[in-house]
Every structure is written in C-alpha cells, then in structure tokens.
C-alpha cells in the first residue's frame, strides 16, 4: 500500500469532559486510503467514526498523530489549509436536511464552490452547474428549485454535486444514506459508485450498515470505542472475519432466507452496549462484551497484528498465520 492517497497514523482526538477527564473519541487509529479506492469505516454510534471524518477535513484539530495527504501534512484546521487542499478533500454530511442553505436555490448553491475552484485545472471534472447536475443524474430544471422543495434523496445528490464542484480526490461520506428511505438509498449509492469510477475518486465511506459495505467498499475497517478492531479487503473480511466483535456484527445482520443464514458466521449473541468513551474499560475495551474473553484481556490492551496479507486484527485470541503453522 505504498501509493496511499491519505495516510493517518496514531490519530488521537480527545475532547475535554470534566476536570482531568476526556472523551477519548479517537484513540490511536491508523488508516490508509489508496487512490481510487473505497474504504468502509464501520462502527456503532459513539465509536468515533464521525470524529475521524471531521478531523480529516479539518473541522477538529487532532490531539495527536499524523495525517498526510498526497505527501502533504494536513494535520491542521481547515482555516489553515490552502484552498486547493480544501478542494481536494470534501465531505458529504449525513443529514441532507441541514446541509443545503434553505434560502438559496440549487444554482447558487453549486456556483459558489465551482467559482472558488475554477482556477484549478483537473481534467474531466464538470465546469458548469448544468454539467454537475448531469453527473449526479438530475435534470436541468432543478437549478431554479429551492432545497426545501426537494426530497431527501435529491438533496443528498445535490450535496454530492456540491462536493464534486471543488474537483476533489477524496470525498468523505459521513453516513450519506442513513437518513434516507431504503428505496432511495440504492439510487444514491449507485450514483456514488458511478462517480467514483468516472473521476477516479477515493471514498472514506462511514456507516453503521455493515451489509452495505460488502457491495461498496474495497476495504473495510471496524471501529470500536475509538480504536480499530479489524481491517481487511472486503472479500477476506466477509469470508474470514476473525475479531469477535466483527463476528458479532456480521451474525446480527438480518437476512431473508435460510441459505443466506448459512453464509453467516456461527451465531454469536450480541450482548451489552458500547461503554462510555470517558471511562474506557481497562485492557481490551471490548472484553466486557466478548464471548471469548481470556484472563489477559482486562489487563493488557492488544496490539494491531498482521494476520495474513492485508488482514489486520487487534485481539489476543487471534494468532498470526505463520505462528499457527509452526
């Protein structure tokens, strides 16, 4: 993975909570996104997924760690980044209801980023509001409409169109479909995949919908309480999940048929809820809910280990392949 577009190393983001206490939203995360690839970042609410997104675009400043984008250090707030850098990394928010200014029409909304980034040449990207609308599959008639008169899916497409207007290389999708109806979700996802192919974009796709990632992501990473548990290429991830938490999540995906049920890992009962990120459990933070808890787990926090090619797991119970073979 040498040609990483974005590399995040040991990223930490603590928010002050009370005297001497911190919310450890992100607590030492390594991530790498390759050019033209989609990384799915999955986790429960409160696991720190969105904090990673907001830190990457510069809405928060990192407490610790490194962020490198195309060889440039981007470990700084958005206000301190260059205009080009802002254009290169864009974000699409979860709630399309509040991500468009209700007092402006679609044309005005799209024109602003388009004009700001018109000097930067990047081949293939649309240069007029009409072309952008075409790219996201909306008719010209939308230009004069107000965001208020649009449905959730259409608004989200406009939000995607706006992020496209700055000619980005990386778009961070912060649960872009979770506020939408299921029937519209597919439409938006398909459009996102098409755009990714057309413009060779990279996505950091944040979601809590693990099943969605099977068809969308090139690589999947699971997050729990501010730390990564497991990271692997999508096929490997779904065929050979190793971390108990991953298996717990996979086995709780609802399915329609018996055959699908057989494809899932052995049923692990999902117990408990994600603990507070202020009082993080000692050792491995997952030990309170883990079905394979060992004596070492509450004491020592496991390290991220390479198990097989491109497959990382952070668990005491999982041993690297070569060790197992010996």
């Amino acid at each position: 993975m040498k040609n990483g577009l974005l590399t995040i190393k040991r990223l930490k983001k603590y928010f002050p909570y009370k005297k001497g206490l911190f919310v450890k939203a992100v607590d030492g995360v390594d991530l790498q996104i390759a050019e033209g690839k989609i990384l799915g970042l999955v986790g429960e609410s409160g696991s720190g997924k969105s904090t990673i997104a907001y830190t990457t675009v510069g809405m928060y400043s990192a407490t610790e760690g490194e962020m490198v984008f195309k060889g440039q250090d981007i470990n700084k707030l958005a206000v301190d980044r260059s205009l080009d850098m802002k254009g290169e990394i864009q974000i699409v928010f979860q709630d399309p209801g509040s991500s468009l200014n209700p007092r402006r029409n679609i044309k005005q909304i799209l024109e602003v980023p388009l004009k700001l980034h018109s000097r930067r040449e990047k081949s293939g990207f649309p240069s007029t509001t009409k072309e952008i609308l075409e790219e996201v599959g909306l008719a010209q008639g939308y230009l004069t409409k107000s965001p208020r008169s649009l449905g959730g899916g259409e608004r989200q497409l406009i939000a995607i169109a706006r992020s496209l207007a700055t000619k980005p290389s990386l778009i961070i999708l912060d649960e872009p479909t979770s506020a939408l109806d299921v029937s519209i979700q597919a439409k938006v996802i398909n459009r996102l995949l098409k755009l990714q192919e057309t413009f060779n974009l990279s996505y950091l796709f944040i979601t809590h919908d693990l099943s969605l990632m099977r068809n969308v992501a090139d690589r999947v990473a699971i997050m729990y309480l501010g730390k990564l548990c497991e990271e692997a290429d999508t096929a490997e991830f779904f065929q050979r999940p190793l971390h108990p938490y991953t298996r717990m999540l996979l086995s709780s995906i609802p399915v329609a048929t018996e055959e699908e049920e057989k494809l899932k890992p052995t049923k692990i009962k999902s117990t408990g809820e994600i603990p507070s990120s202020v009082y993080v459990p000692s050792g491995c933070s997952f030990h309170l809910r883990c079905p394979e808890k060992m004596d070492i787990c509450p004491v020592v926090d496991p390290e991220m280990k390479l198990i097989s090619t491109g497959h990382y797991v952070r668990c005491h119970a999982v041993k690297p392949e070569d060790e197992v073979n010996q």
Binding site: A78, K86, G87, Q90, S98, N101, V112, P113
Partner: protein, 276 residues
C-alpha cells in the same frame, strides 16, 4: 404571499394605517389645511378654538391648527424612526453576526459583554441620560435612541447566527473555502431576515414612543417645531377644558404605533407560515 397576508384582517388594517401615515408624512405640506402652522406662527384671534369645520381638531393656545401640527409631527416621528433604525439595525446585525459566528472567541465575549451592559439598563432611562447630557435637540435625541437601540439587534441576531453557524451547510461552505465575510452575508444573514424584519416593523412604533417620551419631558425636538410628545405635554396644562390639545396628538401616537405593531405581527405570521 399577499393572499396569505390578507387572510389576517388585523395585518391588513396595520398595513393600511402604516401606508396612510407614510403617505401623510410625505405629502404633509400639500395635504394639511394650514401648512404654516407647523412653525412659529401665531393667530391669537383664533386661539383655543374647539374642533369645528375651520379647525377640524381645534386650535392651540396661540391659534395654531392642531390637525396640521399633528401631521407634521407624524412626519418628524417617522423620519426619526427611519433614521434611528437605518443606523442601529445594520450595526447591531453586523455585531450579532460576527459574535454568533466566531463563537467562544475573544470578539464574541467582547461584543456579548458590551450588549449585556447596554441591555441591563432600561432603554428609556438610558436614552434620558444620554439626551440630558447633551444639549436637547432632535439630533441628539436621535443619537441617544440610536446608541441604545443596536444592542437589541445584536442580541437577536446573535442567537440566530450561532445556531445557524452550527448547521451543516455552513460547515460545507467553510470546507470548500468560502471566506468568512461571504459566509456571514450570503449563508447566515439570509436565514436571519425574518426575525429582523419583524422586529424592525415593531420597533418603528417603539422608537416613536420613546422619541415622544423624550419630547414630552423636553429632551426631544424643540418648539416651535411640532413633535407629538411636545404637543401632548403642552396640552396637558389645559386639561380638561381644552382636551383637544392633548387627546388628538395622543391618539395619533397610539394609532401609528398600533399600525406598526399589527403590521409587524402580520409579517411574523407570514414568515412562520412560510417556514413550515
């Protein structure tokens, strides 16, 4: 728009009053029966006349037509209101936008503290103090009211701007490199317009009340220029025998303020319907 607005009878009445008063104010010299009576004019032969066909609202103790003086009084009251708001509203709104957008920064606390100080003193008292420190004149009364008026707009816009600044569309604009002044004026301000407009309309009436109060105690417009507050004060000495000297200017104040209040309510309802 008009259909929605016209569904409320009271708002239409308010609009009617406001429009007529403004027209009266503009065309005062051509409408009133005795334009000269607005100044230093005396006609002792006709002093203290009760309302009649010649003097519709009677005449005062030096023979001036009350109706003519009321219309000119309205003219100066409206001009004054417009002037006060034309200065205090943009300034107050700008301060509120800055403080609301730069949350928890030094500039936020400085602006909020200053407005807090202004708002902790009752408006009329503050205006009285400022006006009495200066030489009493129309200009100084306007100055006094302007100084005490802007913090209300800062407070109003501050709340709006700080909640709007947290919305995703402001974040998205920031992250695509929009400069902060464009954010303030193109993204945040348009979303604060409806409460500002409502308050401006209501305040037109309020400024007239404050200005009249200042004039009543002699700190506003100076005689012989006609000010509604002065006229009420002068007439009070001749109550109840020559009631018309007091009652008609007082009624004029009441009707104008009522008109602006009804119109303001109408505008507020219009926007709250639109937002749904």
């Amino acid at each position: 728009m008009w259909y929605k607005f016209s569904r409320s009878k009271l708002s239409v009445i308010g609009l009617f009053i406001v429009v007529s008063v403004i027209l009266l104010a503009i065309f005062a010299p051509f409408i009133v029966p005795y334009p000269l009576h607005a100044g230093a004019y005396t006609d002792f032969a006709n002093a203290n006349q009760a309302p009649s066909a010649e003097f519709l609202m009677g005449s005062d103790n030096i023979g001036r037509d009350i109706l003519s003086r009321i219309v000119f009084g309205l003219r100066s009251a409206i001009t004054m209101s417009l002037f006060v708001l034309a200065i205090s509203v943009p300034f107050g709104v700008f301060m509120g936008l800055i403080a609301g957008y730069f949350q928890r920064s030094l500039i936020d606390s400085v602006i909020t503290r200053i407005t807090d100080i202004f708002l902790s003193v009752p408006p009329l008292v503050l205006a009285l103090v400022i006006a009495s420190l200066l030489e009493p004149s129309l200009r100084n009364a306007m100055l006094a009211i302007t100084i005490m008026w802007w913090p209300w707009y800062t407070r109003l816009v501050y709340g709006q701007a700080s909640s709007i600044s947290r919305l995703d569309f402001v974040r998205a604009s920031e992250l695509s490199g929009v400069k902060w002044w464009n954010l303030l004026f193109k993204e945040i301000l348009p979303n604060c317009v409806s409460p500002i407009l409502t308050k401006v309309t209501l305040d037109m009436g309020l400024v007239i009340i404050i200005a009249s109060s200042l004039a009543f105690v002699g700190l506003g417009e100076q005689p012989p220029a006609p000010a509604l507050g002065n006229m009420v004060a002068d007439g009070a000495k001749y109550m109840p025998e020559q009631w018309w000297m007091t009652i008609f200017p007082a009624l004029a104040i009441m009707i104008v303020v009522l008109g602006f209040n009804l119109l303001g309510d109408g505008i507020r309802d219009l926007y709250s319907m639109e937002d749904k």
